[in-house]
Amino acid sequence: MATRARPLTAMHWTGAAFAALVALSVLGPLGAVMARADWPPALGPGDWAAIRFTLLQAALSAALSVTLAIPVARALARRRFAGRRLLVTLMGAPFLLPVIVAVLGLLAVFGRAGWLNDALAALGLGRIDVYGLQGVVLAHVFLNLPLAVRLILQGWQAIPAERVRLATSLGFTSVDMRRQFERPLLRAVLPGAALLIFLICTTSFAVALILGGGPASTTVELAIYQAFRFDFDLGRAALLGLIQVAICLGAGALAFGAIRRQEVGAGLDRPPLPWPGDTPIARLGDAAALIAAALFLLLPLVAVLLKGLPALPGLPPVVWEAALRSVLLALASTALAVGLALPIALLVARLRRPGLVEALAFLTIAVSSLVIGTGLFLLIRPFGNPVPLALPVTGLVNALVALPFLLRALVPAALQADATQGKLAEALGMTGAARLRHAILPRLARPLGFGAGLAAAFSMGDLGVIALFSTPGQGTLPLEMYRLMGSYRTDDAQGAAVLLMGLTLALFWVFDRGGRLDAATR
């Protein structure tokens, strides 16, 4: 790259500097964790149990999510019905939903005093317990089933309509359809989808924090928190952090190919395929799958709304203060993520090296947020008390977590903008701010709005690093909600959940909408 016909501008060099900065802010804390970890490593039975539980629950969650997703995706691919679009949109909602809100909703339906147990009791049947392994897996399936459905549905929608028409003309039966269409499709999509969900579940913290715990059901990520928070054993926390990195590296290396193919926010609105070999039984099965999935995904949200709305006006001031803090934190974290992502995306587009994005994504996935948080704590400590810095550290980590999603949304548009409008701008001698404002940004407005919305929603709902080293008086809304749940103030917790859900979706909507405002960009 000694000479280039289209030279790199200050913006591109800024992107290079920011990419290096991002790498440093992940690798720096990782280095601190490595230096501080107990050595030689002495793993107690509890630690081994945590490793086993992490892998077991992730494997179960992944297997269940993709298995249950198969009939739902099939039904969405081949049926046309009122509310189909809404259902597809709903499949995207758990992605934005704060994990703690989802868990509270699941507790309202499946918990001790939940609807399901009430119904079982009325029928004179025994109660089910939602804590421990089954609870963790239930929550992970709730959070990841929609992702699995979307991934499989993308596979369905990639099938050319001509090929289905050909099948129709050849008189395919439903058995032929399965053999010639569905099985090859599932073979191609399922392993990647399962590995991706496995990877997501290995870094699960908030779910394990609320529904797990205890020696039998602690994830490694949760064990880091406990070593840090309860025992203040930094050497052990750091060692567990290294184990977590090893698990993520292993799962990440396996899932890498799958993550590459995963498109964030890809449109799934293509009209459904006409289906050769359709039968009444198939129609019935599809209807059952769709209704079951809709109930499973909607009921917890409805429960939160029904129970939380009445509690909303009576929420204590501390909750409103936490809400304000969370919104400000989300805005700052989003600004940071967007400020980092834009120059990096433009650099990646000019170099035509989308692989750089994957490298950064891999880095932030391999080093989970609690590991980064622990590392930052270790780095700050020699210079002063890290606790007052809890909010800035949380904002930074949230921005790092959101960055790969933002980049993945931005880079395709940036590649296109650079190749078409960027070239035109150069031919006309547009430079600097004029080039950015008139030639590049209008092309990026939509993915930028969408990505910023994601970043804001992630940060708003995050319950991770903030739990690691916050004190009362600096809590975010999810943390405050967790405290309310811990002190059995369920009404207030449900009110806070409605507030959190509302604020998260509103932030996402405002950013996403902002990106679409200029309708003339197409």
């Binding site: 150069e426 006309l428 001698g429 600097g432």
Partner: protein, 229 residues
């Protein structure tokens, strides 16, 4: 005068390699099948790609590696010549002030050049509300304002129907003659070439296989051209 000295560029397994000269005010049509190197040659002349070897001279001055915007060049692409989010007047004004900081006098000049291409009064419209022919005229109005002596046209009218294409070629010819532009146009049709240009370069596999005057060419085409036709 534009002079190409042993230009050579290899890209994705394809090699462009040619020499040639065009006198000031000369208008050359680049003909040849798809993939013969027409667009690559224009891209090298505009500065989007640098040749591996050879030189480009403009009136004796070496511009082989000059930045795109510093070249004496206006280029019209096959498509995507307009920014869809800017109105017509702003799209044209980019030829005058790429940062769009316009004075009253600038705006008057924009309106004048729009009138010259027959689009007077349409400055406030968005490109999407114009027909294909009108969009091409907007790009030409901008070329007028850019006022660079070397015009490169990469099949800019390929999407227009034949009648409209003839009209646009006549308009370009009018502009080129008035401004004494040196011009290269990639195209597919010998008759289109005749309407605007005075010379023909036939490209094949990245090489120039024919370099002849266009006058009377169709009555007695040389063997290389006959094979292509």
């Amino acid at each position: 005068m534009l002079q190409l000295d042993e230009l050579s560029l290899t890209q994705d397994g394809f090699t462009l390699s040619l020499s040639g000269g065009i006198p000031a005010g000369g208008r050359v049509a680049l003909l040849g099948p798809s993939g013969s190197g027409k667009s690559t040659l224009l891209s090298v002349l505009a500065g989007f790609d640098w040749p591996d070897r050879g030189r480009i001279l403009w009136h004796g001055q070496d511009i082989t590696r000059a930045p795109v915007a510093a070249r004496p060049v206006s280029i019209l692409f096959q498509d995507g010549n307009l920014f869809p989010h800017l109105d017509v007047a702003d799209n044209v004004a980019l030829g005058l002030r790429p940062d769009l900081r316009l004075t009253q006098a600038d705006r008057a000049r924009v309106e004048e050049s729009l009138a010259q291409v027959g689009l007077g009064g349409l400055g406030a419209r968005r490109p999407a509300t114009l027909s294909g022919g009108q969009q091409a005229r907007v790009a030409l109005a901008r070329m007028l304002l850019r006022d660079r002596p070397l015009a490169l046209l990469d099949e800019p009218f390929a999407a227009l129907d034949p009648g409209l294409r003839t009209e646009m070629l006549a308009l370009v010819r009018e502009i080129a003659e008035a401004k004494a532009l040196t011009l290269l146009m990639a195209c597919h049709d010998l008759r289109d070439a005749e309407r605007l240009c005075d010379r023909l370069w036939l490209l094949e596999d990245g090489r120039k296989v024919l370099d002849v005057g266009l006058a009377g060419l169709r009555d007695d085409p040389p063997a290389a051209l006959r094979a292509w036709l």
